[in-house]
Amino acid sequence: MQRNIRSGVTFGIIAGFMTFIFGGWSVAIIGVLYGVGLGLSLGGRLKREAPLGMASQALPTAASAGGVLLVMSLIQNYIVAPAIGQFPADPSVVIPANLAGVLGGFIFTLITVALHGLPEKQERMGKLILLAVIVVAFPFVDTFARLNWLAQFIFALIFVILGMGLNIVVGYAGLLDLGYAAFFAIGAYTTGIFSSPQHNIYLNFWLVIWIAAAMAATFGLILGAPTLPLRGDYLAIVTLGFGEIIPVVFRNLTDVTIQDPLTCWIIPGITRLFGGQSGMACITLLSHMDVTAGERGINPIGRPYLPIIGMFTNAQPIPWYFLIIAIILLTIFLVNRLRASRLGRAWMAIREDQLAASQMGIDPVRTKLLAFAMGATFSGFAGAFYAAYISGIFPDVFDFSASILILCTVILGGMGNIYGVIVGGLVLLTADRLFLPALKDFLSGLLNHTVLPALASNPTLRAAVAQNANPILYRYLLFGLTLVIMMAVRPEGLIPSAQRRMELHEADEVPNAAASTSMKS
């Protein structure tokens, strides 16, 4: 019981600190999210009984968490907010926001815990419905509460798709790919080329997204082929090379001239050899064509259009949000089908032991190529969406750090487990896109009202403090730290696949453990 209260207080304090940093209405969303999180962690621990009984068991924990959050959000409103220079709390916001957060957290904790009391099938159904409600309600709450998280959150969702795609290559087939952003770039540039004024081609987005996926898959095959005889480290190095080459190519495809070799060199060359003059005109297929516009990037890129909703725009992120959710659902469906298919089993076998797999009749070449192609397909979707969403593409978005970021989401979440990868992508990218900027505002607000005025006499120091108190500058340091800590504490990721866990904790396993115990997994 004490342990449950303690975890309730911990959740409350974490949620409280989040409201310190995000401020305003954020407490409403944070409340609901911590409620679900607390409910999930609590639900598995409590004694199983009927839903109402479960809820009443969770009552003290939920109440303690809610109480902590209430206190902390009041501190936020009346102490922290003034300290960082925000307007004094307005009761017409404070009261409903805190009420929504505290009550929302309380109620959602109880609901989530109560779900654990249902029969297994209904429990899963209930969790899915809960998730669906949150996913659907989130953008409307976001708009209503003027948090403006949605536009940034959509980037996190793009990386979720990328993570799921890379997971096929790294997690399922066991091929370490350090240049995955190249396929993302190919998807995005395909969209840019086929749907922008750059070439005066304006294909429909709903068509282009498939072309982008097909193009990415094709390049997956092309780039996969030379890596096939390689294993382990060598494979990683080659993919790293591809990841570097592709953005450079896009940066430099600004002046492309293609001449027909037959009429321009071969026939004139032969006639010259015999001292004659070729009367034949050289056929130029492409003359000084600017394919990618180099550093300037391709801009603007065509956007999707749907009846009723109309053209998707910058100002209105909600349609984009539901579009990317739809793509994610499609990706989850396809990846799950792939995993369970013959091909999926072949990937697992190759990952385990390539030689043994080939003796089972699995063609390693075909299997690996398909892993690259399938993995690339999803980054093609993500690339097309990305290009349309920001309506412009620039080569430096797709550099090495993007590949590493995607790889980090896979490792953080749990290699080989699609749901782990989703969580990993959400955690890492919301930290990057939402938390760090908010933290920056929070810190600079705090400094502006405390330390900086005191430093007025020393302008150099003042400027140095003001400049360096920006957590966004340290984002890669923070990612690195996160990874190091993860690897030390929980190398299998947040939500690991059963096989990975096994791999990393082999030493802990008792050989010959009774069959009955392992049947469960």
Partner: protein, 235 residues
């Protein structure tokens, strides 16, 4: 059924197989005996396509195997229970057995074959949900053989099935090999334990430093003086 004609295999510059010729008839158990480093495993690896012969032909019912990649050879009905077992350590027993049937086109007989494997190796049925890597050595051997049988092979290559097993388990495994053979699977058995191998085989070949030095029926090999001295340890 399986015929090797003057097969030469190299590891870099090392001439490992110096013209191996042997044949296995349908329904037979043929054993290949020899000491460490004689080329027994290399012969099997060459049949499997893992090592490529520099010259010579390997025929499976008249079809040339020597230029095919390993997975194509597996699809044509050559299954093996390799030395060191090479099971998939992180897959369960059931998943390992399913992988064995990967290349099969007919999925209908799969549950029958599964039943057959479990009848041969009741231990595997007890361990069905356990990860391959956590099995004992003997169980891994059983799993490797069971997995090979799931492919319903035309010919089964067994590489040192007795390696690292207790005497009781060795006897059990050899009994099972005989049962498998009686049920109609042709077997090429590579063994260091010559006595056991010769007692269940129809015919045998003796391999020494990459060459076949002797071939005869198993009972006659058992009586052969050279074999008795070198491999059976009988003066």
């Amino acid at each position: 059924m399986l015929e090797l004609k003057d097969v030469h295999t190299y590891y870099g510059n090392i001439h490992a197989l110096k013209g191996i010729s042997l044949n296995v008839e349908k329904g037979e158990i043929v054993t290949l005996i020899g000491s460490n480093g004689a080329g027994k495993s290399t012969t099997l690896r060459t049949i499997q396509g893992i090592n490529r012969p520099r010259s010579g032909t390997i025929l499976l019912e008249g079809e040339e195997l020597e230029k095919l990649p390993p997975h194509e050879i597996a699809i044509r009905g050559v299954a093996q229970s390799p030395e060191g077992r090479m099971i998939f350590p992180r897959m369960t027993v059931m998943e390992n057995l399913e992988m064995g049937a990967y290349a099969r086109k007919d999925k209908t007989g799969m549950s029958d074959d599964l039943e057959r494997v479990f009848k041969l190796f009741p231990r595997l049925k007890e361990r069905i949900g356990q990860k391959g890597g956590t099995l004992s050595g003997g169980e891994q051997q059983m799993l490797a053989m069971g997995r090979a049988l799931m492919a319903r092979p035309r010919i089964l290559l067994l590489d040192e099935p007795s390696m690292g097993l207790s005497p009781i388990l060795v006897e059990l495994i050899f009994e099972i090999i005989q049962t498998i053979n009686k049920e109609g699977t042709t077997i090429l058995l590579v063994e260091q334990n010559a006595l056991m191998a010769l007692s269940i085989a129809n015919r045998g070949y003796v391999i020494q430093t990459g060459e076949i030095v002797l071939s005869d029926t198993a009972p006659r090999l058992k009586e052969n003086e050279m074999v008795r001295k070198s491999y059976l340890g009988i003066e």
